[in-house]
Amino acid sequence: MSDPFLMGIHVFFADLAMLGYLWVFVDLLNPISDEKIARARNIALFSLIFIILTWVTAGYYYVVYYPADRAVIKASSVWDWGHKIIMETKEHVFFFAPVLAFVVYFVLYALGAELKNNDDARKAVQILAVVMIIGNLLLISMGSLIAFSYRGALEGLVGYLL
C-alpha cells in the first residue's frame, strides 16, 4: 500500500527548502546589506523548518508505507538495485541535510550583520547553500530512480502472475 499524498508532500517540502537555499545564496552575493543578511537568515530558518518537515514526512512514509514497496522491488532480480543501492544510500545520506541546514542557519544567526565584513563566513554559508541544493537534486533523482525501479518490478510481477 502506498500514500501518494505523503510521497508528494515530502518532495514538496524538500523543494521549498532547496528554493530557500537558492535564495540564501543569491542574497549573500555582493553588494551585501543588512536587509539582505536579515532576509537570508529568515529564509535559512524557513529552509531548516522545511528540512525537518521533510525528515518527518519522509521518515513516516519510509517506516509505515515503504516496506510494502520494498518487498515488490526486492522480489525482482532485475530491479532490486532500486532498494539495495539507491534507497539504502538515500535514507542514510539524508542525515547530512538537517545538520548542514542547522549550520547554515546558525552562522547567519550568530554573525548577523557582521557577515558584511566577514567574507570567509559569507562564502562559507554560500558554499553550504550550494551543497544543500546539489544534495537535494541528488536525493530527488534517487527518489525518481526508486519509483522507476518499483514500477519496473511491479510490471514484472504482474506479468509473471498473468
Partner: protein, 114 residues
C-alpha cells in the same frame, strides 16, 4: 565580553559537532550493515534502526556541542585556532567522503565484492 562575541564563540562548537556527526553517519551506516546484532540493537531502541540512527544523530550533535562549548570557553580558545573557512572545508569534505563511502559500500555489497 559582549553578546556578539558570545555568539561568535558558539560557531566553533556548531561546526565541530556538525563535522563529528558527519563522520558518525557513514560509520553507523556501514557498521549496521555488516553487524546484524548491532542493527537489531538499534531497531530495538525505537522500533526501527533508521529512527534510532536519526535520534542518535540529534543526541550526538547536542552532546558534542555542549562538550566543545566548554572546551572553547568564554575566551574562545578554539575560535582563535580554527578559522571558519577551514571548518567549512572540513565539513563539506566529511559530507562528501560520507556520501561516497555509503554509496560505495552499498554498490560493492550489491555486486558481492564485500
Amino acid at each position: 565580553m559582549g553578546a556578539e562575541e558570545k555568539m561568535k564563540n558558539l560557531l566553533v562548537p556548531a561546526y565541530i559537532s556538525a563535522i563529528l556527526t558527519a563522520i558518525y553517519v557513514p560509520i553507523v551506516t556501514i557498521w549496521s550493515e555488516f553487524d546484524e546484532g548491532f542493527k537489531a540493537g538499534l531497531a530495538a531502541i525505537t522500533g526501527h534502526h533508521w529512527i534510532t540512527k536519526g535520534v542518535l544523530l540529534i543526541v550526538l550533535y547536542v552532546v558534542f556541542f555542549i562538550i566543545f562549548y566548554f572546551i572553547n570557553g568564554p575566551e574562545g580558545k578554539l575560535s582563535k585556532k580554527l578559522p571558519i573557512k577551514m571548518l567549512n572545508i572540513l565539513l563539506v569534505l566529511m559530507v562528501f567522503i560520507g556520501l561516497i563511502s555509503i554509496w560505495s559500500m552499498y554498490y560493492l555489497h550489491y555486486i558481492h565484492v564485500i
